[in-house]
Amino acid sequence: MLVGADDSTDAVILQRADVLYSDYRLRRVYYSGFSPIPEPSALLPIKPPPLVREHRLYQADWLLRFYGFKVDEITTTGAPNLDLQIDPKLAWALGNRATFPADINTAPRELLLRVPGLGVRNVERILSARRYTRLRLADLLRLRVSMKKVLPFISAGDHTPIRLGLDDDALRARFLPSPRQAELNFGTPPPRASDADSVRSGQL
């Protein structure tokens, strides 16, 4: 599906994808951000949509197919577009904090799949490993789980997320890219044509 060539919201696109998956049994839907063409048309926008929108749609698509999410959980009528700054799973978890923390040693598969930072493969590994051993944070590190993402949402053998602020309003800010200092130019401004005149005449 072409994204960003008209004003369809992400909710519309994902609902269409969901229909294609469930009713038409398609195996895969591809999303392609509209990209400008050599001969622009009045019917099409000039500017391409941000490439990250396409990426977020793919992430949401994966949540639909492999993680047991429903479209109306990922996009709501209040916010029909996906958050471009954080991924849809993290956005869902931040909006449904009452579900967490999930204990990685006891939580069911459905809940583990909803923990931000845990992928399908790692959930399978956790499920099979915890039959034989009690999992600790070092085990998750070995599975190369992103600790920054996962820590507030889980409890493990040696970890409770008490001080990581699952109740904190600022939790979302922790996952955003760090703010960048905008540049202020304090240098001399470039010379204008009138400057030469004022130098010659001595008048400001």
């Binding site: 400008p36 001969e39 622009p40 490439l51 590994r125 490993a129 039959r131 034989y132």
Partner: protein, 289 residues
């Protein structure tokens, strides 16, 4: 402590490991080496331990071990034997299910590296036409490739299926694979050969140039898919710098181009007749009145 010197291949390691397992030699007592150049620090002691039955392992371990054996890390033989020991005499038959285990994790990471290397070899081998066999009139192709690990045997099956109808050789520094239409065989590696220029390469370069979309330039994503170490053997790599450099200007040009209005429908008698046919039929009930 004993030192086991083996050929760097899976089959040889497997034979030695079976022998050691049957004699119940724990992994801490074995020093594995796949080069004879290293002086043996602790000369091997004569084997007096009785030989028992060779225990069996899950088939998944053999698949894993076959991949890990292709890795270049010198530690791999010892790590493989340690996991093998734990699976059998160590009493951890379920070890392959515990992906968080330190030893197993290491093997799985090596295996993943090998899978990636094989995938890249499938993608980046470029054959060059060198001639035609007069007896069989089959075209003969040669490719030079430098994989990171010893993966030629693991990766060759793909090329047999994909290019069964042509004769080809894939030359690498470690091992070469050859296919003549009926038999796949391997020979020792060769030093880098000067690649001959292929007439089809310009065609391919034109193709790559035309499928490149300047508005979707993602340099870091491209380099993680196509790491720079492969560039020197890819004919299309010479285009990369140029395409990246001019992409900005091409996009600006597209954005700055005058927007054309919606095209009017073409004047074409045939299309008009189709449009008439497609028009809704006149109302029959009104005619009867």
């Amino acid at each position: 402590m004993r030192t086991v010197v083996i050929q760097p291949c899976f089959e040889n390691w497997r034979e030695c490991a079976r022998e050691l397992l049957a004699r119940r030699v724990p992994p801490d007592d074995v020093l594995w080496s796949d080069t004879v150049l290293e002086p043996v620090l602790f000369p091997s002691t004569d084997d007096a331990s009785p030989r028992g039955a060779v225990p069996t392992v899950p088939p998944a371990f053999l698949d894993l071990a076959r991949r890990v054996a292709a890795h270049r890390d010198p530690q791999r033989w010892g790590a493989l034997y340690r996991v093998l020991w734990r699976l059998t005499h160590g009493g951890e038959r379920h070890l392959l299910a515990v992906a968080t285990d330190r030893d197993l994790r290491q093997l799985q990471q090596w295996s993943k590296t090998i899978s990636r290397d094989i995938h890249k070899m499938h993608a980046f081998v470029r054959f060059r036409l060198v001639g035609t066999d007069e007896a069989t009139s089959r075209e003969q192709f040669v490719a030079w490739f430098e994989p990171e690990h010893r993966i030629v045997r693991l990766a060759a099956g793909f090329f047999v299926k994909r290019f069964a109808s042509m004769d080809w050789s894939i030359l690498t520094p470690n091992e070469c694979a050859h296919w003549d239409g009926s038999r796949l065989h391997f020979s020792a590696g060769v030093p880098r050969t000067a690649p001959t220029v292929d007439t089809l390469e310009d065609l391919w370069r034109t193709y790559y140039r035309s499928i490149f979309n300047p508005a979707r330039l993602k340099v870091r994503a491209m380099q993680s898919e196509m790491p720079k170490k492969y560039w020197k053997n890819l004919p299309e790599a010479s285009l990369i710098a140029e395409l990246i450099a001019e992409s900005r200007g091409r996009v600006d040009h597209m954005l700055g181009t005058e927007v054309r209005p919606v095209r009017p429908a073409p004047k074409n008698a045939y299309l008009d007749s189709l449009r008439d046919l497609n028009a809704p039929p006149p109302d029959i009930s009104s005619k009867n009145e």
